[in-house]
């Protein structure tokens, strides 16, 4: 299958250029989730929203397999499973969808926002969910907002589902007047506890007002306009960033808030935009930095010098590799990512070691060949690969945990490191 080798000129900020890194582009079997998987955490984040996937039995099976281990209560998501007769004619499919939505609303009248989520089959039969959303919005509004996006595997890879969801949700954001006071918008679904920590830090810095997106309640979407300054909390939000920029909002480029270094740079980007006195900035972040550094020390002993190979999964791979190499002394060999957004990751790429291979896309068989040959000390990969690699004697960290745990900010830096240290510690403990 096609293999394209090209080179990537490193970004110039904040570090000076230090040569070039090769990017390996591959096409072959991609061992990744589709964007529907993001529903597993998004449905918990926005508490009065419901996610209705319009898809097949496969879609329903995927979400429960990815989530079934964790979710015991009746979730705020479901699948409208298309059947043979829905495929016969489109008019019929629309009527069927309306009926299913009626059924759903009768069961869950407290829903204020309904996401119609497109899937591979709904995209292929060209079921127009944006028109369906308008129609259902008129029928059930204004108490219920209906929004559509695609989480299909043909359009989105894993975390791109959140990107598509948030980009669609931005259409609901009111327009902030041009002369509004500057405000900060933190974009990307974060655990509530992390949001609260960041909110306190911004408060102490004197940066604000601050809003987080997506909000916990669907009615709390902040106004957006030219006075909006945006900090992305996740690296996979390319489409969302574009929509924000089209609305006039200004993105503050930075490292992502993983580890002490990333979190400092991220907070600094906002502090600088607000013209906060550097001495004040240092004073406010010092305790967090100190706590993070102290807590990371413990894990450094386990991780330092260990060679790391990351399979593509969530697009978090480049920032994580940066954190693991710069703050814990790990040595990344290959950093796989399903998609490399050079603009959003310019700072991250500049901070990576010079000799690392970045691979975009995937041919999983070839990548496994490279991985076996490299014999890394740790592989970061999805659940389909982890046990088979462990059985070959390669220590793995399964990557889905990285999007299911609080890992951002100073006080989670050591938790993030612990996720990587634990498999190695376990290896050293076991005598069987």
């Amino acid at each position: 299958m096609t293999v394209v080798l090209d080179t990537l000129t490193r970004g110039t900020t904040p570090a000076p250029p230090r040569g070039q890194t090769s990017v390996l582009r591959e096409r072959g079997q991609r061992e990744v989730f589709c964007g529907l998987t993001g529903i597993v955490w998004l449905h918990r984040k926005i508490q009065d929203a419901f996610f209705l996937v319009v898809g097949s039995r496969t879609c329903a099976h995927l979400i429960q397999s990815a989530a079934g281990v964790m979710v015991f209560a009746e979730p705020r998501f479901a699948t409208a499973i298309m059947e043979e007769r829905d495929l016969a004619g489109l008019a019929d499919a629309n009527e069927e969808l309306d009926r299913v939505v009626d059924e759903l609303l009768a069961r869950r009248p407290e829903i204020r926002m309904l996401f119609l989520v497109g899937s591979c089959p709904s995209e292929v039969i060209k079921l127009d969910l944006s028109r369906a959303a308008q129609r259902l919005g008129r029928k059930h509004g204004p108490a219920l907002k209906v929004i559509n996006y695609s989480g299909s595997g043909i359009d989105t890879t894993f975390t791109q589902g959140e990107d598509a969801c948030l980009a669609a949700l931005l259409a609901e954001a009111p327009r902030a007047p041009a002369d509004a006071e500057p405000s900060l918008l933190v974009v990307g679904a974060l655990p509530d506890i992390v949001e609260d920590q960041f909110r306190r830090l911004f408060g102490e810095l004197g940066v604000g007002p601050v809003a987080f997106f997506p909000p916990r309640r669907s009615g709390d979407i902040p106004p957006i306009g030219p006075a909006t300054r945006v900090l992305l909390a996740q690296p996979f939000l390319g489409d969302t960033a574009q929509v924000l920029e089209r609305r006039g909002a200004v993105r503050l480029p930075s490292l992502f808030p993983f580890g002490a270094e990333g979190t400092t740079a991220w907070l600094k980007a906002a502090a600088d935009a607000w013209g906060i006195d550097p001495a004040r900035f240092d004073r406010v972040v010092a305790p967090g930095q100190e706590r993070a550094r102290r807590a990371l020390e413990r894990h450094r002993a386990t991780l330092e010098g260990k060679r790391l190979f990351l399979f593509p999964d969530s697009q978090l791979e480049p920032p994580l590799a940066r954190f693991l190499s710069r703050e814990l002394g790990m040595i990344p060999i290959e950093i796989g990512t399903p998609y490399l957004n050079r603009a959003l990751l310019a700072e991250e790429l500049a901070a990576l070691p010079a000799d690392v291979t970045i691979s975009e896309g995937q041919d999983v068989d070839r990548q496994l060949d490279r991985c076996r040959e490299a014999r890394p000390d740790m592989v970061v990969c999805g659940l389909g690969l982890a046990n088979p690699l462990e059985a070959e004697g390669i220590t793995t960290k399964w990557s889905i945990e990285l999007v299911f745990s609080p890992v951002h900010g100073f006080d989670q830096a050591a938790d993030l490191a612990a996720l990587f240290a634990r498999p190695l510690r376990r290896q050293s403990l076991l005598r069987v």
Partner: protein, 523 residues
């Protein structure tokens, strides 16, 4: 379109994967969009397989749809052959690829691989996982065991041979059932010719006709193939599924009669403790426990027999999610004076359980969710199952040892006999009360987080109860008396009392009403 919260079965191509992953040297090339590779984790995580399933996916994306997805498939098939060198290949499409109509079978043929390549036609929008597994196994058997060579006569004194059909990857206790039943058959003087699909190769399937008969362990998966073998190769099938002591004895009798051996040795070697454990006086408390059973048809029907004949339970509900076997479940339910619940709608099962207030639920992982929410003890008897239901220890469901396992796993979640009495006598004990759950499971086994959940949830309440609720009230002392009834029957008592009161035009329920209703319903 069907509103679905959880599904009991995956799509049919997952069934095909279960067959391919069970076998050795069979590779599956699946035309499927990016994301469908999630199915790998079912095997590597839930079943903890130490190999990737032998599946190559084309993982096409939107940009490929404008181009040549057919070429993508051919490349994938060619590369998969070159890399994995399988003895046989199955090819097919997942739900999305079915819509783009690329004809994987025709494409694979065009590639011209030097091995048998079987096209699978698994209609994703009509059929489900078990059907997909059955169809895949049938197609493999039909293609590989087609040779009409007459079976060689068994030499004088030679042991009869059978095939064990049905065990797959991700099957509920299949690994251990195979061990248990193989042992049982050998004791009967019968040798195992081939076990398939689990651990079987393409050559093993070619040898299937050498056996004298087939044992269909899992009709959901092996039924179609066994029927074909019976028709074409004249191999009779043993249809009794040996789950429980009685069924295992019947199984032994059926095999013995077929091959003309004495069942005595195998029957004498009955090493199940179940009969004595069940007759032991401490088991008296099991008598008449109201149990709700739901799962795949085979396991549900078998569980109903064990529950009634071997545990002394009362089966209050029986159902299955696989419609293909609805008839069998219906007649089993009828025999117990019940109407079978045939549905793959999780919410419908939940409503039925909430209505019936059983004291024990025997179900799948889905019913475990339901039972946990309703705070009813539950044991898993059927797929779909959780990682916990792939235990490290030997833990079959079938045969005499399987019966031991059933006794232990079904009684373990229950409140033990004397404890049940103590709970009733000293209801207000701060530490040991029914809200705390069985004490041997540790406090907090059933956290009293949602006490309202014990009652029928509003969504599940039937019309009469809703109507009754509007005009009925409970006097304070009657309500207090109601709360003294153990929680696992409290909802039932409440409903019965309300129905009793409504029928008699009583609007305020007094303590007397509660006891009148109790005496009325106990007949």
């Amino acid at each position: 379109m069907k509103l679905t919260v959880w599904t009991y079965e995956g799509p049919p191509h997952v069934g095909a994967m279960r067959v391919a992953a069970a076998m050795k040297g069979v590779h599956y090339v699946l035309h499927a969009p990016q994301g469908d590779t999630y199915a790998d984790l079912l095997f590597t995580m839930i079943e903890r397989r130490d190999h990737r399933p032998p599946v190559t996916y084309t993982t096409f994306q939107a940009r490929d749809l404008g181009g040549d997805t057919a070429e993508l498939f051919k490349t994938a098939a060619r590369d998969a052959y070159a890399r994995y060198q399988p003895d046989a290949m199955i090819v097919g499409a997942s739900c999305t690829a079915e819509l783009i109509q690329d004809d994987p079978g025709g494409l694979a043929k065009a590639v011209g691989l030097p091995i048998p390549v079987l096209p699978l036609d698994l209609p994703s929008y009509q059929k489900k996982e078990n059907w997909g597994a059955a169809e895949t196994f049938y197609q493999l058997v039909r293609a590989l065991a087609a040779a009409p060579a007459p079976r060689a006569e068994r030499p004088e004194g030679g042991r009869p041979r059978c095939n064990l059909l049905g065990p797959t990857a991700l099957g509920f206790r299949h690994r251990d059932d195979v061990i248990e039943i193989s042992r049982l058959l050998r004791r009967l003087g019968v040798d195992i010719n081939v076990t398939a699909p689990l651990e079987a190769t393409a050559d093993d399937l070619r040898r299937l006709p050498d056996a004298d008969f087939n044992v269909v362990l899992y009709p959901e998966i092996a039924g179609t193939a066994a029927a074909w073998l019976e028709r074409v190769h004249n191999q009779p099938s043993i249809k009794t599924v040996p789950i429980g002591v009685g069924a295992t004895r019947d199984f032994i009798a059926e095999v013995a009669a077929l091959v003309g051996v004495s069942p005595a040795r195998a029957l004498e070697a009955c090493d199940s403790h179940l009969p004595w454990w069940s007759r032991s006086v401490d088991s008296t408390y099991l008598t008449g426990k109201r149990v709700f059973i739901f799962g795949d048809a085979t396991h549900a029907i078998a569980a109903a027999r064990v529950a009634t004949e071997e545990m002394g339970f009362e089966v209050v509900g029986l159902g299955a999610y696989n419609r293909e076997f609805a008839r069998e479940v219906r007649s089993a339910a009828e025999a117990l004076g019940l109407v079978a619940l045939i549905t793959d709608d999780y919410l419908e099962v939940e409503r039925a359980i909430a209505e019936l207030h059983p004291e024990l639920v025997l179900g799948s992982q889905m019913e475990r969710h339901i039972a946990k929410r309703l705070r009813i003890p539950c044991a898993v008897i059927s797929a779909p199952a959780h990682v916990h239901d792939f235990p490290a220890r030997y833990s079959p469901q079938m045969g005499f040892e399987g019966a031991n396992v059933l006794f232990d796993t079904w009684t373990h979640p229950l409140v033990m006999g004397l404890e049940e009495h103590l709970l009733t006598m000293f209801r207000d004990d701060f530490e040991f009360n029914d809200a705390a759950g069985p004490s041997h499971l540790g406090h907090g086994a059933a956290p009293p987080s949602a006490p309202a959940a014990v009652e029928v949830p509003p969504a599940a309440a039937t019309a009469p109860t809703m109507a009754a609720a509007a005009t009925l009230a409970w006097a304070g002392d009657a309500q207090a008396e109601l709360n003294k009834i153990p929680f696992f029957v409290r909802g039932k008592a409440r409903r019965n009392t309300e129905a009793f009161a409504a029928e008699r035009g009583i609007t305020l329920i007094q303590i007397e009403t509660l006891y009148d209703a109790r005496s009325h319903f106990s007949r």
